[in-house]
């Protein structure tokens, strides 16, 4: 099972995806484009976990299948001028003709994204749920 967790460990709930990957023994990435592209392109099928902020209650888990259609950039856009957002990375891999057939994406709704470490309680619960589900 190929699992990729994405996030910034210094921005509180943004680390939710990293935490799932850590618990499962998946890859923890911060959006560095080459690593992200290669991690996705190298897999037969892949599960990716990232934090999102859509306005849904914290801890909500949004699930998508990105093998066939692009992810909504509203949820998975770039988080920095120098990182690729998950949506962009997947589309770049698709443009290069190297996208896996199955790409399961779990977006964990975060509550706090300010500087600091540690997950909010609702997000911590979602991390446990996602870890079990994978």
């Amino acid at each position: 099972m190929n699992v990729i967790g994405l996030g910034n460990e210094w921005r509180r709930d943004d680390a939710a995806g990293l935490e799932v990957a850590r618990r499962i023994g998946g890859r923890q990435l911060d959006g560095e484009p080459v690593a992200l592209v290669e991690a996705i392109a190298g897999a037969a099928e892949v599960t990716i976990v990232d934090a999102v902020r859509s306005g849904a209650p914290p801890g909500t888990v949004h699930e998508f299948e990105a093998g066939a259609a692009p992810l909504p950039t509203r949820l998975f856009g770039a988080s920095s001028t120098h990182a690729l957002g998950l949506a962009e990375a997947l589309e770049l891999v698709r443009s290069l003709g190297r996208l896996p057939v199955r790409v399961r994406v779990l977006g964990i709704e975060g509550e706090r994204f300010d500087y600091g470490r540690g997950l909010s309680p609702a997000v911590e619960e979602a991390v446990v749920r996602c870890t079990r589900s994978i």
């Binding site: 921005r11 484009p33 080459v34 592209v37 001028t81 120098h82 690729l84 290069l96 994204f113 300010d114």
Partner: protein, 430 residues
């Protein structure tokens, strides 16, 4: 009645309002240009106080995912300065090699993935990849080669962990570095082709009169250390930075804007390095620049993509030279005994000067930290470029003018890091 229009670009994100651009035009003239960029070093300065001086390279590396080596190098330079330690030539050479890795990965990302789409009329590198897969695959190879160099010397690709005050926890072996040579040689070839590619781009017209500031050393292209020099006669040790430069608060931004005291805004980064030290690039890089028609007095900020490409040739070439001449430092670090005092460090981040000052007590506790990143130094100059762009291109339709303004901001490869995101573009007509 006067015709007013407002261009507004908001960088919104997971954390909103960290960066934005506002241009207000009246009768075809820019009357107001405001750039608002938040940078995380302010948070890290507070975070560093009370920490041990040996923690600075690991903590400051977290400021930026794309230029951690710049922050690490400037911080260890400063700590070694405070403690009166000289690390010697072998450790300095290894630092320079690590830094080459960062220049390669950062410049490759910026040239191909972020800036080239502007020049070629693509919305992003994704559309570019659909039309020119080879170009994007080449960019990925270049970036990967830089990442590999950082991984082998720094311990990992992002946020290297092998850098310490006084040197490195472990020096790589000769075979470990030799294993990178093939990829670096290919990267160097790609870089030469990149210069040709960049030379063929269509450049918007803009000539600006800059004060250019960069580090300088007598017989090399300054990267990891040097004196601060400018094209207007500045020539000072990095310890005198605060006597010549000031950061001021502006009401529309929570970032500080830097200027030269009594003179005004200045430019740091590739254009400045090229103007002040271009004659000290490696012969291959100089030849690539000559072939591309790059003049020594380049004052068109859009041509920075060309200088960045030349610096890609330099960084790959220099990395190969450093690997060929490499002798592992033994031991891999110099013991650094803390002493009370102040230390200064500076290095050339891919996007320009990264200046640090630390005050330590006798036990090595950090009492005070000041970090001046390249993007805050360039902010006033970016604003003045935007003035120039709007003046020159006021007749363009709003959308094209907005894109040209964004392209002008990207000339500086600004590090609007940590959770800021371009999402929304708003054009207002008054």
């Amino acid at each position: 009645m006067a015709r007013t229009k407002t261009l507004r670009t908001d960088y919104l994100a997971r954390v909103e309002g960290e960066g934005a651009m506002l241009v207000r035009i009246r009768d075809g003239k820019p009357v107001e240009v405001k750039l608002r960029i938040y940078e995380p070093p302010r948070f890290f300065e507070a975070f560093l106080r009370g920490r041990h001086f040996t923690e600075a390279p690991d903590i400051t590396a977290r400021i930026c995912g794309i230029c951690p080596v710049a922050y690490q190098t400037s911080s260890v330079n400063a700590m070694e300065d405070a403690c009166g330690v000289d690390v010697g030539d072998r450790i300095r050479a290894l630092r320079r090699l690590l830094y080459c890795g960062e220049w390669i990965e950062s410049h490759a990302l910026h040239v191909f993935m972020l800036h080239a789409p502007d020049f070629l009329g693509y919305a992003s590198a994704i559309e570019l990849a659909k039309d020119d897969r080879t170009l994007v695959e080449r960019a990925l190879h270049l970036k990967k080669t830089g990442n590999e160099l950082m991984r082998v010397i720094g311990g990992r690709e992002v946020h290297p962990i092998n850098v310490r005050v006084g040197g490195f926890y472990r020096a790589p072996s000769k075979p470990e570095l030799a294993a990178l040579v093939d990829d670096l040689e290919r990267a160097r070839e790609f870089a030469v082709e990149t210069v040709r590619f960049a030379a063929g781009l269509d450049y918007p017209e803009l000539e600006q009169d800059y004060e250019l500031v960069a580090l300088s050393v007598p017989d090399a292209y300054a990267v990891e250390d040097g004196r601060l020099v400018s094209n207007r006669g500045l020539d000072i040790p990095v310890s005198e930075y605060e006597q010549h430069f000031v950061e001021e608060h502006v009401e529309w931004s929570n970032a500080l804007h830097s200027r030269v005291i009594d003179r005004g805004n200045y430019l740091v980064g590739p254009l400045a390095r090229w103007a002040l030290s271009g004659d000290r690039l490696t012969p291959l890089a100089r030849e690539a620049a000559r072939e591309a028609g790059l003049g020594r007095d380049e004052r068109n900020p859009f041509r920075s993509i060309l200088v960045r490409s030349v610096e890609l040739v330099f960084a790959a070439d220099e990395a190969l030279r450093l690997i060929a001449e490499y002798e592992p430092p033994e031991p891999s670090f110099v013991e650094v005994v803390p002493r009370a005092g102040v230390g200064y460090g500076c290095s050339e981040a891919p996007r320009g000067l990264c200046w640090h000052r630390y005050e330590l007590d006798g036990e090595g506790t950090i009492l005070d930290a000041k970090i001046v990143p390249p993007t805050s130094q360039n902010q006033k100059t970016i604003e003045s470029d935007l003035h120039g762009v709007v003046e020159r291109y006021a007749d363009l339709p709003d959308e094209e003018l907005s894109l040209r303004c964004e392209q002008a901001i990207r000339n500086y490869d600004p590090c609007i890091s940590c959770a800021t995101h371009f999402l929304k573009l708003e054009v207002d007509r008054g």
